[in-house]
């Protein structure tokens, strides 16, 4: 039994033929449409021909073993991979029918629409106020101090942080606890009012209580934003997402409603991963 499994994973590894993703890759009201996305780091073929739709106002979780390319794929969605010189992306990623890898696509505009929260909380070494104010300020979203204050107030409120920090907005963001820092980063991301928020393992550096707060927050944010979350925790994926995508060695194996993926996976690899046989 064990041996046969290993053989199957190896065959996936060496197989460069186009493969078919199992499940429902398309949705009715897509926000982002990905068709045949390939990513290369120099010679290494990191993402193989990924086709998936990301629906409006849904939380979609990307799961899979380490090094399967889920974070790489996430970073394609707001072109954060641009900063890596050796990274090449091919295929189409469309927002509002425009390819974001188009030559005349403005990266600044794209990232204002597709925000990001990183694995490790990374507040700027500035005050809490300045952390949240940076985005609205560089994009010119506030005409005066009062408007800016209002944006910061609502962003912190949405991130569930306002009550805790309202008396110390001028204190450094780095002095907060890990969970508060991550919520500050979420507030910073939603201060520019994006359409999509990408979250790259947002809870991996946090304790269970802080994780629970963030998960609840993600659920609330879904009303206004589309959220793509990469996570190592299958329980987290099951708790927060409506759809789940399973990646394995750079390939998108299966996509489907979260409930179905976790209760009735169609692909063997997904099933093995879900049931904890590897990963």
């Amino acid at each position: 039994m064990e041996n046969s499994n290993t053989a199957e994973y190896n065959s996936i590894d060496t197989d460069d033929q186009p493969h078919k993703t199992v499940g429902q890759v398309t949705v009715d009201n897509p926000r982002i449409i990905c068709r045949g996305v390939n990513v290369y780091y120099d010679e290494k073929h990191a993402i193989h021909d990924v086709t998936i739709d990301i629906g409006s106002n849904e939380v979609i979780a990307m799961i899979g073993p380490s090094g399967c390319g889920k974070s790489t794929f996430l970073r394609c969605l707001n072109r954060m991979n641009d900063t890596i010189a050796s990274c090449k992306v091919s295929g189409d990623i469309l927002i509002d029918d425009r390819n974001i890898y188009d030559k005349n696509m403005d990266v600044v505009l794209l990232r204002a629409r597709v925000g990001m929260v990183f694995q490790k909380p990374n507040p700027f070494p500035k005050s809490i106020y300045e952390n949240v104010a940076f985005g609205p300020r560089i994009h010119g979203l506030a005409n005066n101090k009062a408007e800016l204050d209002e944006i910061i107030h609502t962003s912190l409120e949405k991130a569930g942080l306002f009550k805790e920090v309202k008396d110390r907005l001028d204190q450094p963001g780095t002095a907060l606890s890990g969970g508060q820092q991550q919520r500050l980063c979420i507030a910073r991301a939603i201060a520019v009012d994006p359409e999509v928020i990408l979250m790259d393992e947002p809870c991996s550096a946090l304790d269970p209580i802080a994780t629970a707060i963030i998960e609840q927050l993600i659920d609330e944010l879904r009303e206004q934003y589309t959220i793509v979350i990469v996570t190592h925790s299958m329980q987290q994926a099951a708790r927060v997402s409506q759809r789940t995508a399973y990646f394995h060695l750079g390939k998108l194996i299966e996509v489907g409603p979260t409930e179905q993926i976790f209760t009735n996976p169609q692909h063997k690899l997904t099933e093995d991963y879900i049931t904890g046989r590897f990963g």
Binding site: T83, A112, N122, F124, C185, A189
Partner: protein, 434 residues
Amino acid sequence: MSQSAPNAPNNSTASRVQAGLKKRYAQERRFRFYGVLAITLSLLFLSFLFFNISSKGYTAFQQTFIQIDVHFDENKIDPDGTRDSETLSSANYGGLIKSSLRSIFPDVKKRKDKKKLYKLLSPGATFQLREMVMNNPDLIGTTARIWVPADDDYDMLMKGHIDRTLPENERRLKDQDIAWFDHLIESNAVEKRFNLTFFTAGDSREPELAGIWGALVGSLLTLFITLIICFPLGVATAVYLEEFAPQNRWTDLIEVNINNLAAVPSIIFGLLGLAIFINVFHLPRSAPILGGLVLALMTLPTIIIASRTALKSVPPSIRQASLGIGASKMQTVMFHVLPLAMPGMLTGTIIGMAQALGETAPLLMIGMVAFIVDIPAGVTDPATVLPVQIFLWADSPERAFVEKTSAAIMVLLAFLIAMNSLAIFLRKRFEKRW
């Protein structure tokens, strides 16, 4: 698997570890001892250096003065009574000094002896009188008791640097000279005073009139030019290379060249300055602007390398956070990366500046070794700098320049220490933790 007690059989891990422990600790103790030894030795050398310099140099901060009564004779200064400034400035003040010395020692009759007598006082006394009269013409006709600087030989005698026990023909001051001076001491007309001249005057052939101020101003002007060229250029280069430039063969080539330039002997930069700045661009020779340019060339690689290191130490997560919100590359650099890298950049710059402050060789090539009496008033005036001034004084034959040299070294060291302290202060002040 049995539990290993401290005194377990030979083959257990614990006993093997225990057998080697003694040796391990001995090694550690030896290593620590070498460290302490190295620090002690370097502190010893350093304190020897400081002691040597300050014990030789501290006397330069005092100067021997002699009190004389001067009669400002109207017939000698301004016989026509016009009080015209030209007449006042060209009057024979030396004559006044001479006559007051003659009145102290009325026994000196021979022409040769009188000439030696006049050498008791520094030529600076004449200038001092002229200045007094120019500032206050009402002095004419009165008699004033004033302190004027003694000649450097008598200053040395006063400070004990001339051995009275030596045979007369081996001394600079003869028995008669010493007798005159002792007579002045007995009549309480000799005093050691704080040497203000040293801090306010430029260079001079006469040690008692020589000061460090000219060289200090020259150094400051030169460093100013170096700073305003080096800092913006260095920081901009580092930011471009580190944050914006593509990684290709050209940037590799530039990087290798910058690292090489940091190791080029400084005199080569002096030659370059001579060949390019003087011969091609005809910049004024010996001027701070020229020295500043040459030192800027020399300091630039240091600043670029320090700034790039500072930029590299800014965590990438900060850049990603900023880019992730949709900041442009330049906004990311200006708002987040540069402020975080600034303490490191400032430290690098100040250390580069301190290096430039102590640099002599390239300045010799571009004529800043000249003997310059006037205090430079601008960056195009001829000037010299502190280390070159030290070199010049160390080269002078007069005994009195020995203490001036040491004193100048003390001033230079004080400046270096101040600059390095500033670097540490800035680093501590602006350092941000995350």
